[in-house]
């Protein structure tokens, strides 16, 4: 690399770096710093002390639950989808296209559609479907005794619809790097589908799973639009949004910082396990 060439390469990358620092890293620093301010004081913890009264613990709880189940659902279905899509079969391109459209769709639209599928009372398409089997209408999005699992189910299905494709695509990319001969050899040794999956596929995809986990996991922690419309309980994101007041944004900053902390802990854990694996 000539010195002049390297200098130009850095120059070329500079706008992107400046942008990222200015619009991502700097605001984050401001938010964290602001979380310790109030309109009247500096460097205090009062914002954080107020958070429990707004339901921060329930919000963290809900966020963890939703994130956990969402990831579980997305990865299971994505593995199934990826396993299918790497094979050739009639209608493969249809399945592939049908997976891309949800990915390209807006979250609000997804929330809207699933809202109508899972609604109670009139216009519920899911309840309409279930009624064919004689199942009485279920209240999916209401809040009542025992409704929590249903609420979680609703949001997990709605959110998964849009996001399974990302995981599936990443897993597919990883699967194509595994040479077919390994599977043939395993088959000769008598390995069944399940064994092939757990002994060959899974270990070889560690890196890809980790990346997908971080990408999706962090997005799940940051879930917002769909939660706003479908989930009747508070998440960290909806809490942050609700606490935002143009005159006193600091309370919101505190909530956002808690969210950020959660995200970072998660990302670090996954990254740590990934580096251990390789």
């Amino acid at each position: 690399m000539k010195w002049t060439d390297r200098r130009i390469a850095i120059l070329l990358t500079l706008p992107a770096i400046i942008y990222v620092v200015a619009f991502a890293f700097y605001p984050i620093v401001l938010a964290v710093y602001g979380s310790f301010q109030t309109p009247s004081q500096h460097n205090v913890l009062s914002n954080y002390q107020l958070l429990p009264s707004f339901g921060i613990y329930e919000a963290i709880d809900n966020t963890l639950v939703v994130t956990g189940f969402a990831l579980l659902w997305q990865f299971i279905v994505a593995f199934a989808a990826a396993n299918m899509l790497i094979k050739q079969f009639r209608g493969r391109s249809v399945l592939y296209a049908s997976m891309i459209i949800p990915y390209a769709s807006a979250t609000v639209v997804a929330a809207f559609i699933f809202g109508n599928i899972f609604t109670t009372g009139q216009g519920s398409y899911l309840n309409s479907f279930l009624s064919v089997f004689g199942i009485s209408p279920i209240n999916w999005t209401g809040v009542y005794e025992g409704s929590y699992p249903l609420n979680v189910l609703t949001i997990v299905l709605a959110d998964g619809w849009k996001n399974i494709s990302v995981v599936a695509l990443i897993l597919m990319a990883g699967m194509t790097t595994i040479p077919q001969e390994i599977y043939r050899a395993a088959e000769i040794d008598g390995a069944g589908t399940v064994q092939k999956f757990f002994r060959i596929t899974l270990p070889n995809l560690k890196g890809y799973i980790a990346i997908a986990l971080i990408i999706r996991g962090v997005s799940e922690f940051n879930i917002f639009a769909i939660a706003l419309l479908l989930f009747p309980y508070k998440l960290l994101t909806t809490l942050t949004y609700g606490l935002y007041d143009i005159a006193n944004p600091y309370l919101s900053y505190a909530s956002a910082t808690v969210l950020l902390g959660l995200v970072l802990v998660f990302a670090v854990i996954v990254a740590f396990y990934r580096s251990r694996g390789t």
């Binding site: 690399m1 000539k2 010195w3 002049t4 060439d5």
Partner: protein, 332 residues
């Protein structure tokens, strides 16, 4: 007194733990056709890339026309390069490819058009100048690459195995053309190849590059007749040089044509058993094995039977000092 067009001093390149090129020094005269000859993967392309400025040396300098260009970007060195893959620009037609270096010099449009056409005529591709490069043959692609190289009168030409991707027939005629063009233009060529036949027919001077170092730099005939090391004797020539121990400190090396088949029983002759024969035209090359187990290749005018024992006498030879590694140096 011819000037030095290209000089490299103490050029070194290390990739990770491996030293690819170690302390190379070389001077190429203006107008010379210099061939870097060596086995694949031993640094020839890397050397060329450093001359071009596409890669940086870890140590050493590159000088063109006396000027130190080591720190200059490739587009400032006024050199032309032809890659083994020809690196033709797929998004342009033949004309666009040839005109590209001129466009980079901001020449006026008419001058560009004219020079490009002239270069195409010289390479006999003016009839395909408006073809997309996907539609032309391998031989034509090679000519386009050459036309693009000569179009702007550079100080130096670097060619990285430009004939290797051609079929044998085309390669043969391309070789002759290349030599002709170089003579006509009077340009300095640095040509890299692993094919010693190409070196033999094209080079004014050959630099034999082995394991990252120049083992010998001389005209081909000299390298052929007096290879500095056993390895060169083995690598250069249609058939490897024969090596027979002379005494406990040295070996003699001789080319097949330096020995004569003689009557069995002739004084001072050595005997060997014929193991196989290769006919090239009228000449029979006999692959034989001496009683000591050493293999020799001999040249004979008449056919001999496989399995028969023949005697030969060596008329001319070089002496090499042991120890018994291939990189033994020439004594006399």
């Amino acid at each position: 007194m011819t000037s030095i067009k290209l000089e490299i001093t103490n050029l070194t390149k290390i990739y990770g733990k491996k030293t690819v090129l170690s302390n190379l020094s070389l001077q190429v005269k203006t107008g010379e056709f210099f061939v870097v000859l060596g086995p694949s993967g031993e640094g020839k392309s890397t050397l060329l890339k450093m001359m071009a400025g596409i890669e940086d040396p870890d140590n050493g300098r590159v000088l063109i026309d006396g000027k130190d260009v080591t720190d200059e970007a490739p587009n400032k060195r006024n050199i032309a390069m032809v890659f083994q893959s020809y690196a033709l620009y797929p998004n342009m037609k033949v004309r666009g490819n040839i005109e590209f270096p001129l466009k980079m010099r901001h020449l006026p449009k008419d001058a560009i058009k004219e020079k490009a056409l002239n270069a195409a005529r010289l390479l006999k591709i003016d009839d395909i100048i408006d073809q997309p490069i996907t539609k032309i043959s391998g031989g034509q692609k090679q000519r386009v690459a050459l036309a693009r190289a000569i179009v702007r009168d550079p100080s130096l030409f670097l060619l990285d195995e430009p004939l290797s991707n051609l079929d044998a027939r085309t390669r043969f005629s391309a070789r002759g053309e290349l030599k002709r063009i170089q003579r006509e233009l009077g340009q300095t060529f640095v040509f890299v190849t692993h094919d010693q036949k190409e070196a033999a027919s094209l080079a004014d001077t050959v630099g034999v590059l082995h394991q990252g170092a120049f083992e010998q730099i001389a005209p081909f005939q000299q390298i052929y007749d007096n290879p500095k090391t056993k390895w060169i004797g083995d690598f250069v020539g249609d058939f490897p040089m024969n090596f027979i121990p002379a005494d406990q400190y040295s070996e003699i090396g001789f080319r097949p044509e330096w020995a004569r088949i003689v009557e069995t029983g002739t004084k001072e002759a050595t005997s060997a058993k014929v193991e196989s024969i290769e006919r090239v035209g009228d000449i029979h090359y006999l692959f034989c094995r001496m009683q000591s187990g050493v293999a020799v290749t001999l040249k004979g005018a008449e056919a001999k039977e496989i399995g028969s024992t023949i005697s030969f006498s060596v008329d001319r030879y070089n002496t090499y000092q042991k120890p018994a590694s291939k990189d033994v140096t020439l004594v006399s």
